[in-house]
Amino acid sequence: RFWRGGAPTAELRELLVRFLGAARAEEAMRDYAARRGQDWQFGAAADADLVDHVERVLGGAVGAASARVAVASVVDEEPIGLAELMDVLEETSQAIAHSRALEEKSHALEAATAELRAANERLTELDRLKDEFVSTVTHELRTPLTSIRSFSEILRDSPDLDDERRQEFLAIVISESERLTRLINAVLDLSKIESGTAEWHISEVDLASLVDDAVASTRQLFAERGAQLRTTVPTDLPQVRADADRVLQVLLNLLSNAVKFCDPEDGTVRLTVQREDGHVRIDVTDNGSGVGEQDRDRIFERFDQGGDTAADTRRGTGLGLPISREIIIRLGGRLWLDSTAEPGARFAFTLPLDDGGQR
């Protein structure tokens, strides 16, 4: 036992009340009395045994060293030694370190909560964009469907229709069905590319022969519009690692856009391929009225049909440019509207020459 001297019981009780509160102090005193026997009573002076008990109870609440110092202040002839003081300091600094650690943990928790909240907000935003996309897709699909249904019903309800009108209405039903098919395919294509489930067949691609394919595929389209297509491809062009079908898809999209928007009287579209630092650059330039300042960002948005006029017989899906841009990004290049070609429009894209950035 550490204590030799006694202390006034009242002062010990006061210590307990101060550090534990009245109720717990009383409980500690009762415990002690019970331990001493049925008839035992507290006297005015506490013996070393009671002092010891009070110290242990206090120690459980404020730490052993602090309890000892507190008790020492009321015990007779028990001066506080340097060792006890050092212990108190030690305990205090431990308590401070502990509280710091707690504080750090609480900061980390706050940061994690903020991160979770941000992630949740991003998810909500993605959800909203998805909803918006679905809503727009629905709108886009209903539009050709409306014409198909209306003209089908008109044909059913009008047996007296003259042959010319009948042919005209049937042609609308057919072209709107084709438009619906193009739309469905484009939506599926974009969603496959974006979700990462699209298959990529990467190989060494000869751009010159790809350009030849694109020219052959669009010959009819250019003839219909009475427009010219001029291509410039260097003979010493290195091969690029890419997906040939996907690059062809982009070329066809840009060419069909260009022929749609080139000068209606004297339409000319130029396709040039050139080697630049680390990549090959392909430009498709038309001599139309160009893309207005206000439309420059919009044209890469889904379902934006900036410039498509109501009179267009073959309306686009509004997904060609967004899909083309996604494809080129996946192939490690970039696709953009180069506004230096005014008054016409020029779309440019790059494909990397080295393997860096390839998927």
Partner: protein
């Protein structure tokens, strides 16, 4: 007197079908392809009924409807809104801005013709 119907849609094929349906019903018809054109046509053509698409360039169908309803001159004008967005909230909004009816695309042509017929008939009864 032949009733006048203004048809507003930016889809030329849908417009063609609406023109055919309304002319076959014996109405005098005019068309507009965007919101501003529609407002101008209401003033010049003075239709009894407007079939108004919601998604229009320049000025949406909602805005056109709201502006028409704000003017006492067009109090008796019937407005049938057309939309390819088949959501209840869209329908509620259409009616809120003062449309008399709200029709979802694709629509049954016979039903649309019947709806327009009923609205214009009510006019005839009111005048007689």
């Amino acid at each position: 007197m032949t009733a006048r119907v203004l048809l507003v849609d930016d889809e030329p094929n849908i417009l063609t079908s609406l023109v055919f349906l309304m002319e076959r019903s014996g109405y005098e018809v005019q068309v507009a392809a965007d919101g501003e054109e529609a407002l101008a046509a209401v003033d010049s053509f003075r239709p009894d009924l407007v079939v108004l698409d919601v998604m229009l360039p320049r000025l949406s169908g909602y805005e056109v409807c709201q502006r028409l309803r704000a003017s006492p001159a067009h109090r008796d004008l019937h407005i049938v809104m057309l939309t390819a967005k088949g959501r209840d909230v869209e329908a509620a909004k259409g009616l809120e801005v003062g449309a008399d009816a709200y029709v979802t695309k694709p629509f049954a042509t016979r039903e649309l013709v019947a709806l327009v017929g009923r609205m214009l008939e009510d006019d005839g009864a009111g005048q007689g």
